[in-house]
Symmetry: C2
Subunit: 157 residues, 2 copies
DNA sequence: GACAAATCTCTTGTATGCGAGTCTTTTGCA
DNA sequence: TGCAAAAGACTCGCATACAAGAGATTTGTC
């Protein structure tokens, strides 16, 4: 203990190097990936989260905001803002629930929103592939697994 | 290809499942860890980034904002805001550079800022240990390595 | 049928992040 | 020396995130 105190000052005996703290490491790694993706999506004027919302709608058009938020683990306040911007960009529309539930707004892709599936899908797939290659197939697979576990997206999902 | 198109609609041949995209996975994993840490630090009224800035100052008091930003990979705009709030909380002070460079503000810990090293250090170390246990030592070490690599904090650093 | 509890959406306020730009000061180089 | 370039800190605007809560609507239950 003593040599640690000498090196880092009092109180440091139980303090880890910042660069070894998971909160710092994962935050910075996520920051890097997000920045890459933001750049890759920029030509279409779409942000990473906006891509995620679009992807959810490509899988199933006409979901409620709450349903999208559940899948993407997004707060209702965040969803509202993202949908506002997607709507302003002309990629989605809000429409009333045919079932008659007046609390609900169903989110529908516009033609322009649907048209982005192919190019954006390729763009993201290419980035995933590039990162898998950068890390190597084996390390990449282990990273994917650990992240799925941390984020609560168990393998079964 | 055809069966994929049938399952997911046109354009999907090259689109990966959202839950398999690294940008989504790492973002959500980081979100979870950050939320945990935010909660753990809440009793002291300190946020995760504020902890990181404090940690940098515990290692070396009296750094310039630019130097802190370099280590933490933070934009100057972000640093300014974080320091504003730390100063308002009475944990740090801005002081002129003794070297006479009038562009620079050196950031110094107050007594209250210094006093947080032991309890916050223990708090974060405990979280790291808990997460290491949750993942298992081996998977944790591999995750740490992969994240260091992604974030540009190579092993040598 | 009525009412408490739950749902869905949206608003407000605060805290990162980043792009872009400003102002001041310092450096480097012709 | 003189002046363009760089550096440090800051501002503004926009886009996530989340806590807290408001308003409208629906559901479950007695």
């Amino acid at each position: 203990m003593q040599e640690i105190d000498e090196r880092q000052g009092k109180g440091a005996a139980s303090r880890e190097r910042l660069e070894d703290c998971i909160s710092f490491l994962i935050g910075k790694a996520a920051q890097r990936v997000t920045r890459d993706i933001r750049e890759a999506l920029d030509p279409w004027g779409v942000t990473p989260i906006q891509y995620a919302v679009l992807a959810a709608l490509w899988d199933e058009d006409g979901q409620s905001g709450a349903r999208i938020g559940q899948r993407l683990v997004l707060d209702s306040a965040t969803i509202t803002g993202v949908l506002d911007r997607l709507q302003k960009a002309g990629l989605v529309e809000r429409s009333p629930d045919p079932g008659g539930d007046r609390r609900v707004n169903l989110i529908r892709l516009t033609a322009r929103g649907r048209a982005l599936e192919a190019p954006l899908g390729r763009c993201i797939a290419a980035y995933n592939a590039a990162l898998r290659e950068e890390l190597g197939a084996e390390q990449a697979e282990r990273l994917w697994q650990a992240l799925r576990r941390l984020g609560g997206f168990a393998a079964g999902r």
